[in-house]
Subunit: 145 residues, 2 copies
């Protein structure tokens, strides 16, 4: 069932910046900051943000391809690379998102239209970053042998 | 060591929307979408976004309090609640972030100044969502007994 109200929590575990992050009923994720402020024993908040974007964008593209477009997708591998500002706030000024997709009979032009639709109106995480971060999406299509 | 270039990846694990999300050298996080599009066997991308914001904002506040302000913080518990739009893109239109802080000799006014600084110029994840999502931060201070 799709939920409209989501809840998540982060509890500090030590005297530095290690948190137990969780959502009810799911295995906790440890977040931590890099030394010296943290011990580097978990995902940084910015890495969690990259994973949020990569999984959201990849599943949005996958749903459009396999749903309305009735394509067969056998693999998707999304990699996000984020480049941080050196001054506060040290957020990403640019994120490059690479999509490696294995699909049958998928033309580059078709995938570009899907990526445009995801960017313009469908991908929720992209929509929340839009305008604040430059996001460049690249792709590679591999035919299944 | 603080890194300026971060990299994360998401690999599709099934025919639905289950991904193995990871950053080199860290234990993978499973993401999934809610049924029927997914099997609900992991964190949704939007839950990862909430965890990214909660851990980032909480650690930003913690660093300012214990660093320049030399306060003693014995606990921080951050809870983020996000309300999704019902139309595409189904991103959050509002996020409420609750901070429960145990600290000695911390006045409400001091914490409010820290929260304002985090919002205005320090918290990276907040900066990336700013303007696109309404974020309301609330807090409770508990004196350590």
């Amino acid at each position: 069932m799709e939920q409209n109200l989501l809840k998540a929590s982060a509890v500090l575990l030590n005297q530095k910046a290690k948190f137990r992050c969780s959502v009810n009923g799911k295995p906790p994720i440890i977040s931590d900051y890099t030394p010296p402020h943290g011990d580097g024993e978990g995902y940084t908040s910015l890495e969690l943000m990259l994973l949020s974007l990569a999984s959201c964008f990849a599943s949005t593209v996958k749903f459009i391809l396999t749903g309305p477009m009735k394509k067969t997708v056998s693999a998707i591998n999304a990699t996000a690379k984020g480049e941080r500002r050196r001054e506060h706030p040290t957020c990403f000024e640019k994120i490059e998102l690479f999509l490696d997709i294995n699909a049958d009979c998928l033309r580059a032009e078709e995938l570009e239209n899907v990526i445009n639709a995801a960017e313009e109106s469908i991908c929720p995480v992209y929509a929340m970053l839009r305008g604040n971060v430059e996001i460049v999406v690249k792709y590679k299509i591999k035919e299944k042998v």
